[in-house]
């Protein structure tokens, strides 16, 4: 299992720059960053190598922060690599609430991040289908 850092963000300008500034000053490298929009507010979803530290520096800067448990699956960076994982999750009855992928090494490795309704289930399903799930990035 891995923790994705979520940061509450009002829908107004300057927010992205503020979060990026805090992480930059703390020397934290961003592996993946995306924005979830639920209307008047949204959340930044941030993957870094040290989620606890990331959450702490953002909290210290006065932000509302949460750690969201996700499954990080390593997959090959080639066409069709996602099919087997998709099948495994379907067979295990995992309801995917949120998912996204990002590249680690071009043409070699990528990760696919899954937030399922039952966190353990996604993890187990991926493993039993022969995938490696990561607890370190």
């Amino acid at each position: 299992m891995y923790n994705e850092v979520q940061v509450f963000a009002e829908n107004k300008s300057g927010k992205l720059a503020k979060v990026a500034g805090v992480l930059g000053n703390a020397g934290i490298n961003i592996i993946n960053f995306q924005i979830a929009d639920v209307g008047q507010f949204g959340a930044f979803k941030i993957l870094t190598a040290d989620p606890d530290k990331t959450a702490q520096v953002l909290r210290d800067a006065g932000m509302v922060v949460a750690l969201n448990p996700v499954t990080v699956v390593e997959i090959a960076d080639k066409p069709g690599a996602l099919v087997a994982l998709g099948n495994a999750l379907t067979d295990a009855g995992v309801n995917v609430l949120d998912a996204y992928g990002c590249l680690l090494e071009k043409g070699e490795r990528a990760i696919f991040v899954v937030h399922g309704d039952k966190a353990d289930l996604a993890e187990k399903a991926a493993k039993s289908a022969g995938f490696t799930t990561l607890s370190e990035l």
């Binding site: 979520q6 509450f8 009002e10 979830a36 639920v38 209307g39 008047q40 507010f41 949204g42 959340a43 909290r59 006065g62 932000m63 509302v64 922060v65 949460a66 750690l67 969201n68 448990p69 609430l97 949120d98 937030h115």
Partner: protein, 437 residues
């Protein structure tokens, strides 16, 4: 018996019959005194009222009501009933709803007020052994000197800290063994929020008593403050026209504020018909101070809406109790034709642990369209657990609760902790931008 427990005992322990007899005697004196002022002299003459005809409380309805507007018209000194040389202090109102009004006190008036205030503080159980830090502004605002003189009269060590500067407040509390504070509820909440965000526990301050007032706040907010600080919050009531703080105060049963009926005659009227409402029903509080000689005010319409709690208090005092104020007859909002007091919205917000203490109600209306109420409320620091979806669901649920409470749908905007303006004095919770007058 402890020295501090004897203050004003003769008045404090009066039973209903004694209160009634005393009130009749004092009302007659007060009306004669008022007739010495240019304002009431003219008023009584205009009504054909002879002050000698007022002999008991039963005659009170023969007297005119006095409004805030009357006080403004009498500005600066038409209600003054003694020679200016006898006056030792001037206060003005906070001007919450317009221009200030001027109130004069003789030396005896100030002493009586200090005695009432001391008696009020003592009702919480605080004594001369306690140390009271007053976070009110000193100056024209009566929450400064009013509380101060009362605390000193009780024999407490008073710290006239004044408003603002949270680090200094905390330093004084820690260094001088402060056991009691006087502040506005929103400021007490702000200090707690600040301490918690610095990783400190407000309970560690060791405060035992908090006297909060000067702005409306809900029972939910009181419970929250008590939980955060570990102190007891005592509601107090006062208004500058009636001296200031010390008019009514809760006892340790925390079930309504005993209004000192040896000093004020209480009426609760229907603000439309001006008739008395039956005891126990909500109406506008009308007060006649009967121990103030420098500037008597007859049957003052406070605009505050409350009710008398029927029956006797367990503490044994026979001064009747005022229930929690439901608002002011002039701060009720009408939104889409629905009457709503901001306090009703606050109640809902305060019950949600994932929300912080600060909020603003914003009212707008576009041309020809319906009113829109936008509630901007700060999140608590730990508002979000797991995914943002949790927050989305909580917001939707809050929207339903507001609709149940208010009767209309409001727009809710969640904002970050600390992003709404903090007020050091009275919090401005309602911003009405509708062009409706």
């Amino acid at each position: 018996m402890d020295f501090s427990e004897r203050i004003g005992e003769r008045f404090k322990l009066m039973n209903r019959d004694e209160i009634r007899a005393w009130q009749s005697e004092r009302l007659a004196i007060t009306v004669k005194q008022a007739a010495k002022s240019p304002w009431y002299k003219a008023k009584f003459a205009e009504m054909g009222l002879n002050p000698e005809d007022i002999k008991s409380c039963d005659d009170i309805k023969k007297l005119p009501l006095t409004t805030k507007e009357d006080l403004r018209l009498s500005y600066p000194d038409k209600m003054l009933a003694v020679d200016k040389s006898e006056i030792v202090r001037l206060h003005t109102s906070s001007g919450t709803t317009g221009k200030p009004t001027a109130i004069f006190h003789t030396a005896q008036d100030i002493q009586n007020w200090a005695e009432l205030m001391a008696r009020s503080i003592n009702l919480s159980g605080a004594t001369d052994k306690d140390v009271l830090q007053n976070m009110s502004g000193y100056g024209m605002f009566t929450g400064g000197l009013g509380i101060h003189f009362g605390g000193e009269r009780l024999g407490m060590m008073m710290i006239p800290a004044g408003p603002g500067n949270t680090p200094r407040h905390l330093m004084l509390i820690r260094d001088f063994g402060v056991t009691a504070i006087h502040a506005t509820p929103s400021y007490a909440m702000h200090v707690a929020d600040e301490m918690i965000s610095n990783g400190e526990d407000p309970k560690a301050l060791g405060l035992k008593y908090a006297f909060l007032g000067a702005e409306p706040y809900t029972e939910a907010m009181r419970l929250r403050l008590q939980e955060l600080y570990g102190f007891k919050v005592y509601n107090s009531y006062g208004l500058s026209e009636m001296n200031g703080p010390g008019v009514a105060m809760e006892c340790t049963y925390q079930n309504g504020m005993h209004i000192w009926e040896d000093s004020y005659i209480v009426e609760v009227i229907n603000p439309e018909t001006l008739e008395d409402v039956p005891e126990g029903e909500i109406g506008e509080l009308v007060l006649t101070p009967i121990r103030r000689m420098g500037m008597p005010i007859i049957r003052y319409r406070t605009r505050d809406l409350t009710r008398i709690i029927p029956g006797k208090c367990e503490c044994g005092l026979e001064h009747r109790r005022l229930a929690r104020f439901v608002g002011r007859s002039d701060d009720m909002l009408i939104v889409r034709g629905v009457n709503i007091f901001p306090s009703r919205i606050e109640q809902v917000l305060m019950a949600e642990e994932w929300l912080g203490g600060n909020y603003v109600l914003h009212l707008t209306r576009e041309d020809g369209k319906m009113d829109v109420m936008t509630i901007r409320v700060e999140l608590a620091k730990d508002a979000m657990s797991g995914s943002v979806d949790v927050l989305k669901n909580r917001k939707a649920e809050l929207g339903r609760k507001i609709k149940d409470a208010a009767g209309f749908t409001a727009i809710i905007e969640l904002v970050e902790p600390g992003s709404l303006p903090v007020s050091m004095g009275k919090a401005k919770r309602v911003i009405d931008e509708r062009d409706i007058f």
